[in-house]
Amino acid sequence: MVQLQPVPVTAGYIRPPMPRTLAGKIWDQHVVRSAPGEPDLLYIDLHLVHEVTSPQAFESLRLNGRRVRRPDLTVATVDHNNPTLGGYEAADEISRKQMDALRDNCEWAGIKLYGLGSRRQGIVHVIGPELGLTHPGKTIVCGDSHTSTHGAFGALAFGIGSSEVEHVLATQCLWQRRPRDLAVEVDGELPIGVTAKDLVLGLIAQVGIAAGSGSAVEYRGSTIRGLSMEGRMTVCNMSIEWGARVGMVGPDDKTFAFLEGRPNAPQGAEWEAALDRWRALASDPDAAFDEVLRLDASALEPFVTWGTNPGQAAPISGRVPEPGDETAERALRYMDLRPGTALQDIPLDRVFIGSCTNARLEDLRVAAAVVRGRRVHPRVRAMVVPGSATVKLAAEAEGLDRVFTEAGFEWRDAGCSMCLGMNNDVLAPGERCASTSNRNFEGRQGSGGRTHLVSPPMAAAAALAGHLVDVRDLTHLPPGEVVPERRGWGSGRPTPTLPGGEGVSG
C-alpha cells in the first residue's frame, strides 16, 4: 500500500489518534507496510555512510548477491579513522584498508563519496546539514549513534548498527517500532557564557543517562527557539547520551534560512512547495506526549563532567561530589579525583575542540573569541579539529586558524579525531583532557585517558588557564592579558564582555 498523505490507513493498521507530534507525522508519512504485531516497515529518505560501520554491510550484500537499492539516496564520507595531519599518506595500513574499502564499495554501488581531500569531506553529521542533504520531514539513518544531530532540522534521524546499514542499502527500509513521544520543554534565557552544550549537559545531569530510552525526544520551548541551528544540533546530538535514539526540534524560519541555497536544498518552485510541507510538520498544539520534562535555562551554569558518563556532570562552580553508588565510586577512581575537590582546581594536560557536537564554524568562532590574543598554558597541549573541510576553509577565511595557532593550539584537518581516538589523536594513559566532544567513557579518547566534557568557550578557557575554569571569570580580562593563576580569581564576577553565550545561545 502506498501511504503518504495525510494519515496512512491500511488494513489492520491502527490509525494514530489526531492530533499528532512532529515525530508521529514523519513516521506516518514513511510507513511502507504496517501489520498487527509487526514493527512498521519505514522508508528511509537519506542514508549516510562512513568507513567504520559499513564494510561488513557491503561485504554481506555481495556475499548474498544483493545490490544497493537507492545509491542516489546514499551519501558517504570518511571521518572516523582518518589522520588529521598528513592526510591519507599518514594513515597506517589497517586504517587505509578501511578507507580503501569504502572507496571501492562506493564505486561498486555508485554512491557519492566525499573522501579525504574532498572540499566537502568531514564528520558525517556536520556535512549532512552543510550540504543541504538534511531536510525537515526526512527519515535519516547512519551507522552512528549521533545521527540524532540531524533532528535539529525536524528530521526523524537515528543511529543504526551494521546489519541495519546492510538492510537499508538493500531495501531502503527498516523495521521499526514506534518510539514513545517525549517532550523536553526548555524556557528561560541562557545566561551569558552558558551554551547549548551546557544546556544538554545540565539536562542529562538532571534526568540521568537512560531517561530517554525508547523515546523520540522533541526539544521545545522558548530557549530552544532562541538557539541557532548550530546550538540545536549540539542539543539533538547529545540525545543518545541520555538514551534517546531520536532528538528533534520543530522546523522554523531559522531552519529554512539555514538550508536555503545549499547544494541539495530544493530550489525555485520546489523550495516554495517544500516550505509548505515543512511548515505543516510542527507538532499539533494539543498533541499528546507520553512524558514531558521541563528545564529552566536561566538557572544553568557552564557544566563540566567529573565522571565517566555524560550524566556525571556538575556546574563549574561546584565540587567533585561524594560518590552515591558503586558506579560513581568506580568513576572517581578512574578519573583519579577526590570528592570535595573544586572542579576549577582540576589541572589539565590536553584540550580538544572538535567532534560532531561542537566543531561547526560557530563553535570555533566562540572559542576563538576567548582565545584571541592569549596563550595556551605551557602545561597544556591543545588542538582544534574542524568538523568538516568546509568549516576549516571558512574558519581560515576569517583568520580563526591564526587566532588558534598564535595562541599555541594545533590546527588540524577535519575528522572525528580525538572524539574517539581511532586515528593517532589519542590521550596517553593518565592524561586529562577538557573536550568539546560527547562521551567521557573510560578510555574513549585513549586507553587510560580522562575526559571532562565542556562547551567550546569552556574548553578554550581551560586551555589558557591550564585547568578547568569558569569561562565567565576570564571574559572580563582585557583582551590579550595573561590569564592569572587560579588563586585569587573566581570571587566577584564582573559583567563579562566577551562572547561565550552570544553566538551559541543565539
Binding site: Q5, L46, T53, D72, Q98, H135, T171, Q172, I240, G243
Partner: protein, 207 residues
C-alpha cells in the same frame, strides 16, 4: 543468523551498571573490515588492567550467558559490540535494561538481549557468583528462564523473537515486500520535493 530456540549454558556475572560499547569493544579494534574475530578483544581494557577480570576467571571459561547491570550497551551504535560478545561464545545477555541500539543489534546478530526485573537479575548474579557451574536454561519459545530453584518468565519483542527462533535473514524477509516498497517509492517521488525524488540531483551535481 544462527537460530536460537532453547539455550542452555553457564553464566558469567558482570556486576556493573551502564556498561558502554566503548568498554565492550574499544575503538582500536573497529578498524577491522571483517565481521568475525572480535572475541579476543571483548572488554579489552578492563581485562588488561585487571588480571582477575571476572570473565578470565577459570570458573567462567566457557560461560555462554552474560549477566550484567542496568542500561547495558549504552553509547556507540557499533555492532562490533555484539559481534565481540558472540565471538567470545555468548548467546544470551541478561540485564535489567538495555540501550536501544545495542538491543536491536543483538537481535540481528543472533544474541538474545533479555531484560529481567532487577531483583531477578540480582538473584542470577548471586547464583553465578556462588555456584558458577549452574546451568541456566533460556527457552525463547516458552519465554522462560530457569535453573534449579529459579524460574522467571520474560517479555521479548515478538518480531525479534520470530527472527531469532527461525534464524531469519531480515533482508530476505523485507525483499518479500518489494512491491510495497516500489509502490511507496512511486508515490514518494511525486509527492516529496515536487516531482523530483530528493536525492536525484545529487548525482548529476557532484559527479
Amino acid at each position: 543468523m544462527k537460530a536460537l530456540r532453547v539455550h542452555q549454558g553457564r553464566m558469567a556475572p558482570l556486576d556493573r551498571d551502564n556498561v558502554d560499547t566503548d568498554q565492550i569493544i574499544p575503538k582500536q579494534f573497529l578498524r577491522r573490515v571483517e565481521r568475525s574475530g572480535f572475541g579476543p578483544f571483548l572488554f579489552y581494557d578492563w581485562r588488561r588492567e585487571d588480571p582477575d577480570f571476572v570473565l578470565d576467571r577459570p570458573q567462567y571459561r566457557g560461560a555462554s550467558v552474560l549477566v550484567a547491570g542496568v542500561n547495558f550497551g549504552c553509547g556507540s551504535s557499533r555492532e562490533h559490540a555484539p559481534w565481540a560478545i558472540e565471538d567470545a561464545g555468548f548467546r544470551v545477555v541478561i540485564a535489567p535494561s538495555f540501550a536501544d541500539i545495542f538491543r536491536s543489534n543483538c537481535g540481528k546478530v543472533g544474541i538474545l538481549a533479555l531484560a529481567l526485573p532487577e531483583g531477578r537479575v540480582r538473584q542470577l548474579m548471586e547464583v553465578a557468583s556462588e555456584a558458577p557451574d549452574t546451568e541456566l536454561t533460556v527457552d525463547l519459545e516458552k519465554q522462560l528462564v530457569s535453573a534449579p530453584g529459579f524460574e522467571c518468565g520474560f517479555e521479548v519483542d515478538p518480531f525479534t523473537r520470530e527472527c531469532l527462533l527461525n534464524g531469519w535473514d531480515e533482508v530476505a524477509l523485507t525483499l518479500r515486500h518489494q512491491d510495497a516498497i516500489a509502490a511507496y517509492e512511486e508515490g514518494r517521488s511525486s509527492v516529496q520535493n515536487g516531482s523530483t525524488p530528493p536525492g536525484s540531483r545529487l548525482q548529476s551535481q557532484h559527479s
